[in-house]
Amino acid sequence: MFKSEYINELISGKLTVAGYKHIVSVVSVYIKKYNWPKSIIISNSDFSKYWTVEEIEEFVHQFFEWALTKNKFQYLNKIPENYQSYYLSQILVSFVANRIKEEQKKAGLSYDKCRELVTSISKENYTINVIDGVEYIYNKHFTAKEILTDQEIELAISYLPRIPILNSTKHYKPLVKLAVEDILNAAASPISIKKMTDKVFQLFDQKGFIVANIKEDSVDTVDELIKSKNFDHVIARIISNLNKNDAKILSEYFFKNEENLSIGKMAEKFKMPKSTLHQKIDAFKKVLRAYYIPVNEEEGLIFIKQLAEALNNSSN
């Protein structure tokens, strides 16, 4: 860990070459030992996973800048000498943990993490049977005969509502647990852990992260947009694939259906097969769900109002 003599040199603004080498070297050992990702360096644009000395130096600088901003050294004189080295390591590790957390927030739930959670939840809460070399899980003891076909399972779970993951979501495990339970209940069949992972991952609505990535140059996050009740970006994405006629149909179906026409009557009105109209409406609903889930009723109403206006404008 960090030597006290070099910590004192650093704090007094008289860091020597030996001291600097020591600090960079200790940080370098930590980086390698704990396999810290390069994404913890702010504004790092190099996607290679190997750290160069320049990058380690940059990271060291960012760490100390952060530590000074947070007044981490203000009362260093109160810390016992034999604790100072541990303290510096502690704030370094906290800094890295914080950075990694921020990066994960930007990325949402990864497939690997999802697989790890599904596997651990399966072991903790469900019965696992190995059939033909494949691990299946279910909420009770089961035999191979009870396993439904993939198509049957797909159909059974196709109506499940998506589970939103927002930037503010702190812990994924309870959500994954909920998703596994929903899928098993809906499918009413044992499911392989691999398939369960796929389905759970698909069930999550991570549009918050997607939208943030779509417009990389934008500083607005989805949360900020929602906070300001400005859904322009989201609505633009929702209606981007609609032509004038589709916008008119959807506008009438959702917002101007004063006569309360059935889909059959609407199909007659727009002179198209009922199934086509059904498909257009369903597809729009899916897009809607993928891009936006209201936090509360008030916010949902604001969103609907803005969506109605946007559809109306597009149809004219």
């Binding site: 981490k72 604790y83 957390k101």
Partner: protein, 332 residues
């Protein structure tokens, strides 16, 4: 949070001296110097007050990173521990002990119920008092006094909980509900680290259980091995009694402990009289006996043995050229 848990599990300080040769840039050094140049114009050299007040409840202390336990084995911890004292000093067979809660700087792993001190001015950083990790420890492990801290929520004290609800660890049980896996793992790691503290008392208890006599005991240790020498009582005839009485002030019985281990190059006789213990090392070679304060004890030599007398209870190190490390002898 996994980063923090990985660090805690890993006993990071063991890597203390592992660095690697690295070629750094002059610009980087200059930048870092500049960053700190005007931040702390006067570095306070006074550090903290090096006073050792009487040990009391609600004080914060650092703990020694190494100690010799009651059975003579060296106990070390790679990362230093700070503790908050939750009880007054108590005694167990004449040894002072206290109950403590370890303190952690990793406040990000706290729960809503945890006791957090946000004021960095107290010991230099915000900290978490691990109210779920109460441990007994011998007072002699305390190293430096750091400050005084009064808990915001006194109800969390387990002793108080016991009095109020009459059920052991009721408050603790309540607080473990709803922990995230990371918080749970953090607690397990911290409880595991705290074994270093409670081991001091456990080794004392082990000594008390294994001691050869109700009023006195001897244990010797070397190379991580512990041996409780056998205790002998021999009755002598009149002639011998007079001789022994004259030499050792023991009148009727010759009572002694004998360490006679084939791995040791000599036998050790230990006796106790009204002036304290007498250690007789049966060797013609030179041996040295050193107390806890590193003071060498006087020795009476003859061709067959070295005799150290009037020795108080405590731990002593016996140096002998043929042994790689000193032999430790605990007398109580």
């Amino acid at each position: 949070m996994k980063t923090i848990l990985q660090f805690l599990k890993d006993n990071a300080a063991k890597e203390a001296d592992i660095t690697e040769p690295i070629k750094v840039s002059d610009k980087g050094l200059e930048n870092l110097r500049d960053l700190f140049r005007n931040e702390f114009p006067i570095v306070d050299k006074s550090k903290y007050l090096r006073i050792h007040p009487q040990v009391q409840r609600e004080q914060i202390w650092s703990v020694k990173t190494e100690y010799v336990d009651f059975e003579g084995l060296i106990q070390e911890i790679p990362d230093p521990i700070l503790v908050w004292i939750s009880s007054e000093v108590k005694q167990l067979e004449g040894e002072d002990y206290i109950r403590v809660y370890p303190i952690s700087p990793f406040t990000e792993l706290s729960t809503e119920d945890d006791e957090i001190c946000e004021d960095s001015a107290l010991i230099g950083f915000p900290f978490l008092v691990e109210l779920w990790n109460e441990q007994p420890m011998l007072s002699e492990l305390l190293d430096r006094y750091l400050g005084f801290y009064k808990l915001k929520n006194e109800n969390f004290l387990i002793e108080d909980s016991l009095k109020s609800v009459g059920e052991p660890r009721a408050e603790y049980s309540k607080s473990i509900i709803g922990l995230t896996p990371e918080q749970e793992e953090f607690r397990l790691i911290e409880i595991s680290r705290a074994k270093y503290l409670n081991h001091s008392v456990l080794s004392l208890l082990s000594f008390l259980e294994n001691r050869q006599e109700q009023n006195a005991g001897v244990v010797i240790s070397w190379n991580d091995k512990i041996e409780y020498p056998q205790f002998f009582t021999e009755q002598h005839n009149g002639a011998l009694t007079l001789l022994i009485a004259a030499k050792t002030a023991i009148d009727k019985n010759d009572e002694y402990w004998l360490a006679d281990n084939p791995e040791l190059p000599f036998k050790i006789f230990i006796r106790k009289d009204k002036n304290g213990f007498i250690i007789t090392v049966m060797t013609s070679e030179k041996v040295r006996l050193v107390d806890q304060k590193n003071t060498e004890l006087n020795c009476e030599l003859d061709t067959q043995r070295s005799v150290f007398s009037n020795i108080d209870s405590g731990i002593y190190r016996l140096f002998y050229q043929g042994l790689n490390s000193p032999l430790k002898i605990r007398l109580k």
